[in-house]
């Protein structure tokens, strides 16, 4: 596809569901299980290790659901960096990319260490280590650095692992681990006395479980690499979410079986076992898994070493590739010095980003203890997944109507919130096992924020998805603490009528008014070239300004955006609006919306009061009907009615607000109390109000019939989420659609919910 005279390229889609599932599993079975099992037994005992992996699998599937939903809607390479950019903008996407770079690099260090530990253990077992056996710790470090350098060089040569070959290697190592699990269970059937190895089940108490879950969480970090395959996967909307969930399922079952097998592998009282089995495995810490499995079956040591070599090296290669890609993207987008995006002419690889990644990997290998490396990798992935879980809430709340999903999680937003809570708990508990992780992780993030603030903010390349403010004219300086009303101007033909009604509300509230016109720009047109779409909106804005300017402080703004609803909600948040006013033509073309694809999202997401005017024109209202059922918007409906009513003392026309309550079997409401409370609050005389209660089953018909004698209906919106209305339209929305009289539908701010909407 040609764009601006340049030819854009895209990757061929060759990776099937099997391949991307195996890529995810390959990333997960890299180090966590080999390093984690022995350490988990040391900290939490024989029962704790099984619970560690089972519960971690459960937490991981919640985050997998978030990744799956986002990847199905935004199936592009970029992973968390991309989700954060779309959900929160440049600053958060920088932090995501910055964390991803470090998390993948530290995970790479963990894989290099795993490789060296298991290879040297096997060589030592063969008696070939010689004098180096006395300096095992240093030898492990040296070998880990060497293997890291080799794979950095391999990445420089551009020989990255392809999904297809990697899939076969991963399948082999997964089958081997499953074999270990099956043999472990078989051994228990053959010799039930080994089940005594699970006594005591939690020797150090249940509190240690959170610690072991924290440092083994790195064994569940494969979603990111699956998300990165968005451009190369066949049918990504279906296959990416499936691959993420299948990979978590497979590794969790594998890890649980392997943990059980590790505990059962050693027979109590056999040669060399001078203490309870869990203590004996635990004393070997990260080597404990190998020591135990070596006793399970013939050739176990050789097979295990081969499995580790394949697992650790393929994962090391993939993490170096992933970390390099993250730092390269930051350099390319000018968020870090562009030298990071420098590509070797000969090899076509980003050699500076690769070198920087290599420095981090080697530094971590040399200076950190194994537990600190695993914990640092875990903590960074916990932070990254935390961010992705926040992104899924933000994107579903703000952009769901603009995206085409292949999967959506159930129980939203509870699953991502549970995941956030659990991940926070795990991260906090990592403190007790690795203080270094808690120093390194947050320090890296704080350093990133400082770099963004002082360096990247002014240099970063603007992204296409952002809303662009074209004209923001402040005509008068109103007081900041003034009540702020925003009027969304869409159609120049009825803009003046809308503003005349705004005039009444603004007068009553002593408000300053913000006029906003959103210019929707098609995806194919860059926002910067969208001038041609602006003319109509500018006419409407000028007309409204002429009317309002002599009376109130008025700000005007015209903004280009990809989606009107998102642009308006962003304006509401940015300008801290108290009341949003919109017009509505009275029908919707799409069945799934109550008011239309623009108005519905604004009502759902705006963290402010809302008033929607239908067919109000430039009329005077002397008799207003306010149907109420006792919901939280009733008070605001009455307030708006008392502002809009035109009191003309000398006229023969009587003014009246009738508060109508339809009593049916399900609702009990004390109308007199309500009226008394609001009369005082609104400082209106009793002559204005009249209350009426009708007993009827059909609420909608009764309201429509009663409205015949009135000029206007003011009604509070339902508090049910719009999706409920999609299933069964609510009474206020039905009144707004079916009434032949003008209607104003209002929605009040709702405490905590509105506060959360300002953030999400």
């Amino acid at each position: 596809m040609a764009k601006n005279g340049n030819i854009s390229s895209e990757l061929s889609r060759e990776l099937s569901l099997f391949h991307i599932t195996m890529m995810g599993i390959g990333m997960m079975i890299g180090a966590g299980v080999f390093l984690g099992v022995g350490n988990a037994i040391y900290h939490a005992g024989p029962g704790g290790v099984v619970l560690t992996f089972a519960l971690n699998g459960l937490i991981a599937v919640f985050t997998a659901m978030s990744y799956a939903e986002l990847s199905s809607a935004i199936p592009r390479a970029g992973g968390a960096y991309n989700f954060a950019r779309i959900g929160f903008g440049r600053s958060t996407s920088f932090v995501a990319g910055w964390m991803e770079w470090f998390a993948s690099s530290v995970a790479g260090s963990a894989y290099a260490i795993t490789f060296s530990i298991y290879v040297l253990r096997y060589v030592k077992g063969l008696g070939l280590l010689g004098p180096l056996a006395d300096h095992l710790y240093i030898s492990e470090k040296v070998l880990a650095v060497l293997i890291a350098i080799i794979f950095i060089y391999i990445n420089y040569r551009g020989a990255s692992e392809t999904g297809k070959i990697g899939a076969i290697i991963t399948l082999g190592q997964t089958l081997f681990l499953l074999l270990i699990g099956v043999v472990g269970v078989y051994v228990a059937f053959k010799d039930p006395s080994r089940l005594q190895n699970f006594q005591p089940f939690m020797p150090k108490g249940w509190g240690r479980l959170l610690v072991t879950m924290g440092f083994t969480y790195v064994a569940f970090e494969g979603f990111e690499v699956i998300a990165q395959a968005g451009d190369e996967a066949i049918n990504p909307k279906q296959n990416l979410p499936k691959a993420m969930l299948y990979s978590v399922f497979v590794v969790t079952i594998t890890y649980v079986l392997v943990s059980i097998a590790t505990v059962l592998a050693v027979k109590a009282g056999s040669s060399g076992i001078d203490r309870p089995v869990w203590e004996w495995i635990g004393q070997h810490r990260e080597r404990g898994f190998g020591e135990a499995i070596g006793r399970l079956m013939p050739y176990a040591n050789l097979l295990l070493t081969l499995a580790v070599i394949f697992a650790a090296t393929s994962a090391l290669n993939a993490t170096i590739f992933s970390a390099t890609r993250a730092s390269y993207a930051l350099g390319r987008d000018h968020m870090l010095p562009p030298i990071l995006a420098k590509v070797s002419r000969k090899r076509k690889t980003p050699w500076v980003a690769l070198l920087a990644t290599g420095v981090i990997i080697i530094f971590v290998v040399v200076f950190l203890d194994t537990m600190d490396v695993a914990s640092s990798a875990s903590i960074m992935f916990l932070f990254l997944f935390f961010l992705v879980n926040v992104c899924v809430i933000r994107i579903r709340n703000n952009m769901a109507d603009e995206l085409e999903y292949g999967f959506m999680m159930p129980f939203f937003p509870f699953l991502p919130l549970i995941a956030i809570l659990c991940q926070t708990l795990l991260a906090i508990n990592l403190h007790s096992v690795s203080r270094a992780a808690w120093i390194i992780g947050p320090s890296w993030i704080i350093a990133g924020m400082a770099i963004y603030h002082f360096y990247s903010k002014s240099r970063a390349t603007a992204t296409e998805d952002e809303i662009q403010v074209i004209e923001d004219q402040i005509t008068l300086n109103g007081e900041d603490e003034a009540y702020r009303i925003m009027v969304a101007v869409a159609n120049p033909k009825n803009a003046l009528d809308l503003v005349k009604n705004t005039y009444k509300l603004a007068g009553a509230k002593n408000a300053r008014v913000d006029l906003i016109h959103m210019v929707p720009v098609p995806e194919q047109v860059p926002l910067q070239d969208a001038d041609r779409y602006m003319l109509e909106g500018k006419e409407a804005i000028v007309e409204m300004m002429l009317y309002l300017e002599p009376l109130f402080p008025v700000n005007t703004s015209i903004r280009y955006c990809r989606n009107i609803a998102r642009g308006i909600v962003s304006g509401v948040r940015e300008k801290k609006i108290d009341l949003m006013i919109m017009g509505w033509h009275g029908y919707t073309r799409k069945r799934e919306f109550s008011f239309g694809s623009t108005v519905d999202p604004i009502i759902e997401r705006s963290p402010c009061r809302i008033a929607i005017f239908r067919d109000c024109g430039n009329r005077k209202f002397h008799r207003i009907l306010v149907p109420i059922a006792g919901g939280p918007n009733c008070g605001f409906a009455l307030e708006v009615a008392s502002i809009l009513i035109e009191a003309e003392p000398d006229s023969e026309v009587s003014t009246l607000i009738e508060i109508l309550h339809i009593q049916n079997r399900s609702v009990a409401f004390n109308l007199d109390d309500f009226l008394e409370m609001h009369k005082n609050r609104l400082q209106r005389s009793t002559d204005f109000f009249q209350s009426k209660t009708i007993v009827a089953d059909n609420v909608l018909e009764t309201i429509l019939r009663e409205s015949a004698l009135f000029d206007l209906i003011v009604i509070g919106a339902t508090q049910e989420p719009f999706i409920h209305q999609f299933l069964r339209p609510s009474i206020p929305e039905m009144v707004a659609q079916k009434s032949r009289k003008p209607v104003v539908m209002v929605k009040d701010v709702l405490g905590l919910r509105s506060v959360l909407k300002r953030w999400f």
Partner: protein
């Protein structure tokens, strides 16, 4: 049986049970979205709620 072991077994069964259910459910809804040609968030949520 030791109460710790009992709680432990229940927790493992619960975790793996929920995990399995969620993966199977996700597979079902992904296939359903694809076969019915759904894409809009509101239509998918309606489908989820209708079960």
């Amino acid at each position: 049986m030791d109460i710790d072991i009992l709680i432990g077994i229940l927790l493992v069964v619960f975790s793996l049970g929920i995990l399995t259910y969620m993966v199977l459910w996700a597979r079902w809804i992904i296939n359903r979205i694809a076969s019915k040609g759904l894409g809009s968030a509101r239509k998918i949520i309606k489908e989820i709620r209708n079960g």
